[in-house]
Subunit: 354 residues, 4 copies
Amino acid sequence: MATMRANVFHGAGRFGIEEVQKPTPGAGEALLRVTLTTICGTDLHITSGEYAVRPGLVIGHEAVGSVEALGEGVRHVEIGQRVLVGAVTPCGQCRACLSGHPSQCGREAGYLALGGWRFGNTIDGAQAEYLLVPHAAANLAPIPDSVTDEQALMLADITSTGFSGAESANIRVGDAVVVFAQGPIGLCATAGARLRGAGLVIGVDPDPHRRAMAKRFGADVVLDPAVGDVAAEVRRLTDGGADVAIEALGTQRTFEGSLRSLRPAGTLSSLGVYSGKLDIPYDAFGAGVADYRLVTTLCPGGKERMRRLLEMVRNGHFDPAPLVTHRFRLDDIGAAYRLFGGRADGVMKVAITP
Amino acid sequence: MATMRANVFHGAGRFGIEEVQKPTPGAGEALLRVTLTTICGTDLHITSGEYAVRPGLVIGHEAVGSVEALGEGVRHVEIGQRVLVGAVTPCGQCRACLSGHPSQCGREAGYLALGGWRFGNTIDGAQAEYLLVPHAAANLAPIPDSVTDEQALMLADITSTGFSGAESANIRVGDAVVVFAQGPIGLCATAGARLRGAGLVIGVDPDPHRRAMAKRFGADVVLDPAVGDVAAEVRRLTDGGADVAIEALGTQRTFEGSLRSLRPAGTLSSLGVYSGKLDIPYDAFGAGVADYRLVTTLCPGGKERMRRLLEMVRNGHFDPAPLVTHRFRLDDIGAAYRLFGGRADGVMKVAITP
Amino acid sequence: MATMRANVFHGAGRFGIEEVQKPTPGAGEALLRVTLTTICGTDLHITSGEYAVRPGLVIGHEAVGSVEALGEGVRHVEIGQRVLVGAVTPCGQCRACLSGHPSQCGREAGYLALGGWRFGNTIDGAQAEYLLVPHAAANLAPIPDSVTDEQALMLADITSTGFSGAESANIRVGDAVVVFAQGPIGLCATAGARLRGAGLVIGVDPDPHRRAMAKRFGADVVLDPAVGDVAAEVRRLTDGGADVAIEALGTQRTFEGSLRSLRPAGTLSSLGVYSGKLDIPYDAFGAGVADYRLVTTLCPGGKERMRRLLEMVRNGHFDPAPLVTHRFRLDDIGAAYRLFGGRADGVMKVAITP
Amino acid sequence: MATMRANVFHGAGRFGIEEVQKPTPGAGEALLRVTLTTICGTDLHITSGEYAVRPGLVIGHEAVGSVEALGEGVRHVEIGQRVLVGAVTPCGQCRACLSGHPSQCGREAGYLALGGWRFGNTIDGAQAEYLLVPHAAANLAPIPDSVTDEQALMLADITSTGFSGAESANIRVGDAVVVFAQGPIGLCATAGARLRGAGLVIGVDPDPHRRAMAKRFGADVVLDPAVGDVAAEVRRLTDGGADVAIEALGTQRTFEGSLRSLRPAGTLSSLGVYSGKLDIPYDAFGAGVADYRLVTTLCPGGKERMRRLLEMVRNGHFDPAPLVTHRFRLDDIGAAYRLFGGRADGVMKVAITP
């Protein structure tokens, strides 16, 4: 029986590289030889036990690789082809997918939220030598030669999620947009706001290094939330409030700051993963009748989304390369988790090579 | 000096009919002789002191009337013409109006939420013999002969708001929609959901009379929230959750019930006026990444909105007449407030004749 | 070798029932035993040789049936289940499908227009005892018990297409809508306009029987294009032009009438299949800068679309039953074609039983 | 009686600078002292007699100026303030404006197309020392100090129109967009496509200088329509067709090229002013059922639109300055028309100082 090395979760704080069975693709599936993977903030929630997955699961949901084997019925891709697979892998054929909500792909009826996020959540994930891809016909995007593995890797979740914060908000040309938190996703949201034609983009983060990165990713102005009332400053800079606020962290503080930064009829586009109760203060909410919109978005996936993001990189319209600050071998993934989890050494994202 | 009788607010619990100065229209304004007005739930918030307005204000924001006098520069309407004016009176020319958010009409910069709601809020209102209409060029809608005063009166706020709950939710043909609370606005939201092509409309209300009205206004199924877990029942009836939930009351319970009734990627369209903090439970919210949308809407106003609603009534596509259950003279408005505030005698809406 | 009876096309004017091989479902496919099928206007274009398909093809694209056999990997449906399959059968997994254009489903690159319309076009169709359904996971919709076969049959193409004329036009509550031609698709467009909240629906057709049907399907006013200038009459009835015109025939005359009926910034939603050049007269087009929109729509398919339409029928919000005016056995399909092609005896649609 | 110098139209080929009465602002109007104006392609249609306006009219519709006098009721702007006024001047209060179609602003009923374009069309225009601005409350946009007169001037029509070609097309991140014709409006459409997040922008123009400018304004690839089949080349570069084609000239050839460049379900966004009949070839149109959309847009105006465009320039996200290639005094406007009309000396746009 063939085996492979993979990062297996066994319980809160217990995970690491071990030998597991190398999978074989069934009908409609593909097997990738992973050439590059990474760690996401969500993986930290999993390894800490905050977000529950089953023990024994291989974790990780971002991967670049080459096609190792194809199950029956998978066409339009070749063995050996270099491909990107999104963090979310919609089937394209269920009720959610056919209703235009592929990220919520799931069972025919009574499906659960987040159904389209499978890797390292409901099926084995990407921090491994090989990755079994479900619904392969809908989820393998060839990578153009001029796009590097590191660039492509950043598109699977970080860029797709960050951009979606701007896309879901329906930004119009000339809008004022504020982005709360400038981690990897917030930086991509900042870039995404610019890509949609924002007139003014304000980046908010307490970390001076991240504020500097924000300017590099397209922020016109950066603000430190530790200094003064950020929402009031946003309202001052925008003559009454931002048209759009993007929340990219997942805390009550950034959520409320986003809400208080808006002008009437503004849109709060939320990307954060929240825990506990979220409060909407009555006064900040215009008592519920100020025409505010609150939209939330799970990372868009599927090969067509990936193709579009790859096209942005290929033509030089967006470069996620600066997000990769550190590199590790798969066997050293413990060190990578410690660095990334501790936000040490100015880390943004790590690249991990099996 | 000419005077008129009007319902003047003086402080929490202190209001009543008195003689006040009859207004004169300035440039861009019109004076209506009010032929029918009514009381809104918001007026109860005002008279109880819960929602603050300045003492001395004439309250009420719904009116049908005839044009008594026109200020300079108001064209396209004639003296004596029977017109409807919306509860919200946008100017059409400020930043909010020109950005597509006329309900949030207001000062050029730094405008306040709810800016377009002026009558009985920031200027004298409709519970009076005469009503001064600002921005008259944008706010007077002629009433077709075949539409009665009582029908037209119900459009100014109740119908416009209720329908907007369905419109803002972007209902698609065949959607499952649940409407929490079947008061006047909830009933119009129910009708609005049908008018947008919903496939299944579920009406929720503890009052059996209102549930019966809900069926008359288009609900396919009605549920009593006092019996069992309404959200679970909605999820059962819809194989996993409603596509759209409309909240038409303004309480934590109905808000949370709406949220828990949704399928992933569903839309919560909120019409209620909330007070205090509103909680979004983490689990009901898919941790923030279930592609839920939460939209809030203030009553759309302006003469074109009113024209469209009048057209629906004129052609028999919607009849709000059953909402008017009781009738009073303006001098008896105290009794009308007591009946309406106490929800006595199956009251839905009252019609008040100056 | 098992055989079945089917309507095979051999060339312009040459087609008829014959014994052909009964198909066997491969991976991802399903075999239906057809219980009811029908003839579409497009089938007349095919049998006349106007629209080219390959000789030997079984024609027809509308079917109700029961599941006879399932290929590998098809779940969520059971043998014997009564199902509806749409005229267009998207795969859900190609670039067009994943871009939100499932009707244009097709090859990965360079795909042809109308790619999602397969039955009786690029693969064997529905006028047969059995029908092989591709991409079965995305295309089989269970029929609720309370919906009849004849009702369901009308949804596969006629209703889905007709409704889409209203849906693609983004009708708003209170819009004035004119529908040119009141054949089966035009009648469904008329009903669709009402289902989206139109304030005034005008139906246009030279046939008095069809004008009477139009009123039954929701038209407020009907016009005879043989009497006077229809577009001028529409502009008169709507104080300057319809907000939306739906073209449901496919001729220069109805296209141009639609265009001339619009008010500035109006939308022409075109459903017709055109041949030859289509002229857009300069004056009717506002010289190209009147903010007109022209949208075209191919019948939306897929099981979720069918589920939504079935839900409309199940809850009594739409009843297509009156469209079925004549019934035939499959062996008598020649007579059915003659009746339907000749528009004899007030025929709207025929129901054909294998 | 005060007079001013202005460019007056007297008939085909007959126009020039003369002394005319200096206007006085009435209620709701403002008088601008024009500091910079320009000539548009539409002005050439007018002076050639191709587009009819009344003799005696002052022509031109683009102006930067300072507020000289204000009529009654105009607030939020001060005498002496430097302002931009759009080419289209919506009132904000009529049926078209309140329906979300301000460019088609006009009479209450039966309004004509292009109603919002008034300057140099239905009222005196901008090629003059002074300009009377109607509906001033909705149409005066203060110019930030850091934006030059020449930059602002390019926004009134050219940039607003060009950008709108991209905006109306609903470009999505990663879309392939082709822009036919790279004159001033086409260049702004090219820039607009990039500002909306296009993944690949292809610029088409026979003039090598304009192709070079196209690259400067954001085109990834430029094509010469004189060499080979441009539409075929676009389909090749995009693996089957562009998602969006923007037509920015107004000829059958560019219109048809745009249509033939599209993939199924693509959008043709047309900005050109057409004359004569426009043909839609049956085959290029997918017989009318390929889910193509054809949208047309008249220059969006109003002070909020101008504010948004000024914000793009102020923050360095777009610079229209390179469009101004030649400068003239108002008294030399004849020479300016000859140069601009003859497309001599690489002229893109001229700046004319009164």
